[in-house]
């Protein structure tokens, strides 16, 4: 009895001490975190403020909130920056890449996770090594090859490059999701008379949906934000994605902060909406994706 009493008393003191210590420390923690949060947010706030000011006002008040809100910058930037065309193009690049990546990656990952045909280990090694090859190693010959095959500056040319670039990540992620799935579920379906295709569509796909969502988000964000490959492989303004088109726009309106800020807001708006809606999936997906590649 007394021994137990002693232990619990010690625990109590320890806990109270901890709580006290934690309480003191948290002020410091919050102070540090607030400073870092300000570092992340203030540039974005200034961007938002400037997109709502006239150029004249930015000259007098470059950082603070607008005294009078003007929204004219947005239609002007939309017109001058050809956003109607480039937004459509970027949507095409993103949607086509995600769709192809999920279908083709899903098929490949399923085969590798479940059927393990002879040569699977070699294939995984191939993708592991391939994922470490820098784009600079093959960008010049790829350019020549794309030109020879008349795929330079086409939608499908750049989409193929995006699919290939994201292939190792997709396979590693989806395969690991599928391997974690208990086999018994699939066997049970087979016993009930489901064929292989039904096993895939009715059992495996619904249960690995989080994996597909993760890959879709990571790949989609990467393609939406991608600059280097689009710069290299697409030279026709009618097929520019928002990134390369916006870079040219910024060069043209170099000193017009009101206009370039509005353009930047247009590009980041869809990303921010998705991010705020799917924070957890985004953060965990990108963290997982960052480690797997």
């Amino acid at each position: 009895m007394s021994a137990i009493g002693k232990v619990s008393l010690r625990d109590n003191i320890l806990q109270r001490g901890q709580r006290k210590e934690r309480g003191k420390l948290l002020v410091f923690n919050h102070a540090v975190l607030l400073v870092l949060t300000a570092f992340a947010v203030i540039p974005l706030l200034v961007l938002a403020f400037n997109s709502l000011k006239t150029e004249l006002e930015i000259g007098q008040n470059p950082l603070g909130p607008p005294t009078r809100i003007v929204i004219e910058n947005f239609p002007t930037a939309w017109e001058e920056g050809d956003f109607a065309i480039t937004m459509r193009n970027s949507v095409i690049y993103v949607v086509a890449t995600i769709a192809a990546e999920l279908v083709l990656g899903g098929l490949a990952a399923y085969a590798l996770a479940r059927k393990k045909p002879p040569g699977s280990d070699l294939l995984m090694l191939y993708f592991l090594i391939a994922s470490t090859i820098p784009v600079w190693m093959y960008i010049v010959p790829l350019f020549v090859q794309m030109r020879m095959m008349k795929m330079l500056g086409t939608f499908h040319g750049l989409i193929l490059i995006y699919i290939a670039g994201n292939a190792p990540l997709t396979i590693f992620l989806l395969r690991s999701y599928m391997i974690d799935l208990p086999r018994e579920l699939e066997d049970a379906a087979r016993v009930d008379g489901a064929n292989e295709f039904q096993v895939l569509t009715r059992i495996v796909l619904p249960l690995t949906k989080p994996g597909f969502l993760t890959v879709g988000l990571v790949v989609g964000l990467g393609v939406w934000n991608e600059y280097t490959l689009a710069l290299t492989f697409v030279h026709d303004p009618n097929r520019f994605p928002v990134t390369t088109s916006f870079a040219k726009f910024v060069d043209r309106f170099d000193t017009n902060w009101a206009l370039t800020s509005a353009g930047a807001i247009i590009i980041l708006f869809p990303v921010m909406v998705l991010f705020l809606a799917l924070q957890r999936q985004f953060i965990e997906g990108l963290a997982e994706g960052g480690i797997k590649t």
Partner: protein, 315 residues
């Protein structure tokens, strides 16, 4: 049993004639490989074949357009390493870039993740906000900071003026001595939150029992960090050390978007030089050689880490 054993086909012709074998082959070999084939073929077409071609191209004097190609062996590499002084300068900039990214974001991320891991309430909000810069496109980030670092109305210039401090009305991105580090600062603004999230996730998987034990042993906060937190997150820290070191040799888009390597080559790195050689000066063979050199650096970094791991540095 004996009958079955007798029937088992051995040669390829017998196998093809045997129906059960055919069905098995179809189900366990052919169909799985047909599932894998489309993605694999695209990948080979986009990555593997050009990567091999790149090695050959680096040993030619090809310009990129005219059909005139001569095999010149290792001449491009000789020129790169011993004659082209701008390459040495670029390499030096890459190394400075690497030193910046192996220290600043790591310290920032470790510190912030430690602070954040001790918070119970509101942690998610900090986590989300601190992660926002990472989801922005490079064109957006560079536009924001080109404005903010403007010498006349930028955030530094204006704040310094308001506080009465002189010497901050500087074109940080236009001066040879500050261009590269300013671009690194901007890229880091975008990048460090990602590192922080990785470290935080790893810290949260350390068993709380270990912290309790450290407390009972009378460890102070530094000792707790040094002997419990750091060993717990060591694998991810070392892995990211490797990745960041590799990425440092691939740096391109932030530099290209802000200075294109200028002013006067002050922010030139291997990748921006490669891009100019390939697509503006039409020296495809020479650019390919630079691409191979970048890959060798990347391969070397991986090799160093694999060797250290073999030596018992449990990464």
């Amino acid at each position: 049993m004996a009958v079955l054993a007798q029937k088992k086909p051995t040669t390829i012709f017998e196998k093809l004639a045997d129906e059960t074998w055919r069905r098995k082959f179809l189900r366990n070999v052919l169909i799985p490989w047909l599932f894998i084939a489309p993605l694999l073929i695209i990948h080979i077409f986009v990555v593997a074949i050009p990567a091999v071609q790149g090695v050959y191209m680096s040993m030619t004097d090809w310009g990129g357009i005219n059909p005139n190609v001569n095999f010149i062996g290792l001449e491009n590499y000789h020129k790169l390493l011993f004659e082209d002084h701008s390459f040495g300068k670029s390499l030096n900039n890459n190394i400075n870039w690497m030193l910046f990214f192996l220290t600043v974001p790591f310290i920032l991320a470790l510190f912030c993740a430690t602070m954040l891991s001790q918070i119970k309430r509101g942690g998610m909000i900090y986590r989300s906000i601190l992660f926002i810069p990472y989801v922005l496109a490079s064109v957006v980030t560079t536009t924001i900071w080109k404005n903010l670092l403007n010498p006349k109305d930028g955030i530094l210039a204006t704040t310094a003026r308001a506080l009465g401090i002189e010497g901050f009305e500087v074109a940080f991105l236009g001066r040879t001595d500050t261009a590269l580090i300013s671009i690194a600062f901007i890229d880091n603004w975008h990048f460090w939150g990602f590192l922080m999230i990785l470290f935080l996730a790893s810290m949260q998987s350390i068993p709380p029992v270990l912290y309790d034990a450290a407390k009972i042993d009378g460890a102070n906060r530094w000792e707790e960090f040094r002997h419990v937190t750091l060993p717990g997150i060591r694998p991810i820290v070392l892995f990211m050390f490797m990745m960041v070191a590799i990425w440092s040799f691939l740096a391109f888009d932030y530099i290209w978007l802000i200075t294109q390597g200028g002013p006067g080559g002050a922010s030139e790195v291997i990748a921006t030089q490669l891009y100019k050689n390939a697509f503006q000066r039409f020296e495809a063979g020479y650019a390919a050689a630079q691409g191979v050199v970048i890959s060798i650096f990347a391969g070397f970094i991986i090799l160093v880490f694999v060797m250290l791991r073999r030596r018992g540095w449990d990464i």
